[in-house]
Amino acid sequence: MNRNVLIALICSFVLLQGGYVLADDAMIRRNKLVWESLSPEEKSRIIQNYREWRSSPPQKQERIRRNYETFNELSPEERQKLRERYRNYKSLAPAGREKVKERLHRVDSLPPEHRVEIEKRYIRNREESANERMKHLQQSRFWKHLSEEEREVFKKLLIPNN
């Protein structure tokens, strides 16, 4: 192998490793600053979260870490949208949340290739305006099978500003 290519590969590897460590350090520094700025009440809440986190199974911890990374890979608009959806989801009555979870099982049970195809279609359609999305939502089979109560729930989650 060309010597220069080998040297370039070694340098890239070293810089990558260094980058990971520096990124970890930057996160720890950021977290320390945040921690110091928290009020005693907020610290108590986080300590409570920490205790629950410690006692949760490793699979759950791994899933949450993965979700955190997924969230950080989204665009600022998509992050804002998810935050808003979360607030709306939290504001639902327990029965409403259960209904959403039931519906979501449909997505989980899809064959992988169908799931991939749906994700692609979603990416193609996500640039639509809220009005267009509302129109298409109302035309969908999914919408037609919902009760009036469920429609209110999903409208709030899918197109909150309409």
């Binding site: 945040v34 986080i46 279609r121």
Partner: protein, 178 residues
């Protein structure tokens, strides 16, 4: 002295750099030894030729080529030295970073040592561990639901056939048929 030694000493003999006794010995040898005398004559002729040789300046182009060639070779020699040294240094720095990172990770996974307790009020809390995961702990419940929240967007598409509705990628033939 042997002929080989005498012949090796001939340049010094002509430059009168030898002791008097050695000079005399070489002179005597040359009077009796035919082969050494021949070598001596050849050497004297060569020197004579060198004295009549005219110095001449090389063309500017060749001089420039030689100078730049020497500079290039010096540069390559430096690169050959500097690159491996730089690569070695980077490896050492990288391994140090990695080692420090691993130590950090190990440290985070260690059971709670008594000396790093957040405070006496919370003896079960490892402050380093808490700080390392603070970005998640701040909003753990939200991050727990991110996957579900993303999936909500897929719900209206689950029961839709591939070609119907808002699929903008469908062909013009599909449009006519539908």
């Amino acid at each position: 002295m042997e002929c080989k030694t005498i012949q090796e000493m001939l340049p010094a003999y002509h430059d009168r750099e030898l002791k008097e006794a050695v000079l005399r010995e070489i002179e005597e040898h040359l009077t009796v030894c035919e082969s050494c005398r021949k070598v001596n004559v050849t050497l004297m002729e060569t020197w004579h030729l060198l004295t009549v040789w005219e110095d001449c300046e090389p063309p500017q182009r060749i001089a420039t080529m030689i100078v730049s060639g020497i500079a290039e070779q010096r540069k390559i020699r430096w690169v050959k030295i500097v690159l491996p040294v730089a690569a070695g240094l980077l490896i050492v720095i990288g391994l140090t970073f990695r080692f420090a990172g691993l130590q950090n990770e190990e440290h985070m996974q260690m059971p709670l040592p008594a000396q790093v307790h957040l405070s006496t009020e919370h003896p079960d809390v490892n402050e380093d561990e808490l700080i390392a995961d603070l970005h998640i702990l701040e909003d753990e419940e939200f991050f727990d639901t991110v996957e579900e929240l993303v999936k909500i967007d897929y719900l209206p598409l689950v029961d839709e056939p591939k070609h119907i509705g808002r699929d903008k990628q469908r062909s013009s033939l599909d449009m006519i048929l539908t």
